[in-house]
Symmetry: C2
Subunit: 216 residues, 2 copies
DNA sequence: CCAAAAGTGTTGAAACTACACCCATGG
DNA sequence: CCATGGGTGTAGTTTCAACACTTTTGG
């Protein structure tokens, strides 16, 4: 049995001011499902590894070539009636909104709020769900947040992100205490600007410190 | 680009008396790599879902049709020079040794100790490593041990398993205290037999209690 | 001086670590 | 009675949860 293998990407970003977690969708221009919203994707070409196909898709849609990207799952279904069946390997990517190129208008690409996703064609709705539930697990052990937050962020940005993801309120004092214990959160001598209240101190994720901390 | 998709299975079992974690390997009878040790596997047929191919492989090798089975990862490589390229989706399975059928001798199937695996062809060595590292992660949150232990087991069986997996000694009193807190470990009025020392009390994993506990 | 979000400490409860001896069985 | 592994409790330390007020800034 011969397959074509499509790579679908669940590309996620977080908009700190509005506290919205968003996924990138595009309007499909081919049949089947022309005119429907789908995840960005593409077919595996020649002998390229899956990850490379995913990187191509990611770069095409966001301009990024170094974002966090992980395999999610291989899906066999798609339409089992077709002669040359299409399997699909999904990836998920976490990107900083500030680093992305403007969206491709001809494709009608859009960031949509996770709480308000349009109907997606194929099994793409399932893939988004799977990606979120994977991230909820992984984030317990891996510092995934920092891929989504801007380079410089406040401790409350981190908290707000967790609150959006898990849809529950966290205790501000206890949350900060935990973050302050992390040796890889580097406090900067910089503060939020243009806010009409006390400006928050900014922090940065320190990759080197994390590597040391993590290897213990 | 057309692919054949092979499913490879990392089938793991634990032999409680010898405290060995083992993986099932078979001697390959086709070229390339005829005569080498490989993981059991097979090609995806017609329109069957990947999981079903994996179930077929698992049943063929062990006689089991209801063991724990999860997708591990999709691997693109294999030999990129081939015209019709072979991709592979690996699964891992955890089985109770007592439930498995005798091994297929014509295939020269063998349980080999993880600490002493022969050279495996293709990227199968990598797949075994990936499976183990996945299990080490998952077992922190999921009750995977109970798929590997016999139906009735002692608390020290559980401890020994963790010690083999993580290759480090654990404190017996503290470990037992933790297990005793789990509402889904059901103590039985039964004891080890034919041992020349104080026989250990046996326990059983209670699926219903776990479902309740887990949903909280 | 008002509004709005940032920032800060303490206390009681629970969980975790370290650690040494007696028990039940078979031979 | 010996050897072997099964089984138990306590004390000190650390982590976690709950909780309310003051600070800084812009308007």
């Amino acid at each position: 049995m011969n397959f074509h293998i499509a790579i679908d990407c669940v590309i996620l970003a977080y908009e700190a001011p509005s506290q919205k977690l968003m996924v990138l969708v595009i309007k499909r221009d081919k049949e089947p499902f022309a005119g429907n919203w789908v995840l960005p994707g593409g077919f595996v070409k020649n002998t390229e590894p899956f990850q490379q196909t995913a990187l191509r898709v990611l770069e095409k849609e966001t301009g990024l070539n170094n974002a966090f990207l992980q395999q999610l799952h291989a899906y066999s279904l798609t339409d089992p009636s077709e002669e040359n069946r299409i399997a699909s390997v999904a990836y998920y990517s976490l990107v900083k909104l500030e680093d992305t190129a403007p969206l491709n208008q001809s494709q009608q690409a859009r960031w949509v709020d996770l709480k308000n996703i349009p109907q997606l064609a194929f099994d793409h709705g399932q893939k988004v769900e799977d990606a979120i539930s994977r991230i909820k697990k992984e984030i317990q052990h891996e510092p995934l947040v920092y891929h989504l937050l801007p380079e410089k962020f406040s401790l409350n940005n981190v908290q707000s992100f967790y609150e959006s993801l898990f849809q529950k309120k966290l205790d501000n004092r206890n949350f900060r205490k935990q973050l302050k214990k992390l040796p890889y959160l580097e406090p900067l001598a910089e503060y939020e600007q243009d806010v009409s209240h006390r400006p928050a101190q900014l922090y940065r994720f320190n990759q080197e410190q994390y590597a040391i901390f993590h290897s213990l």
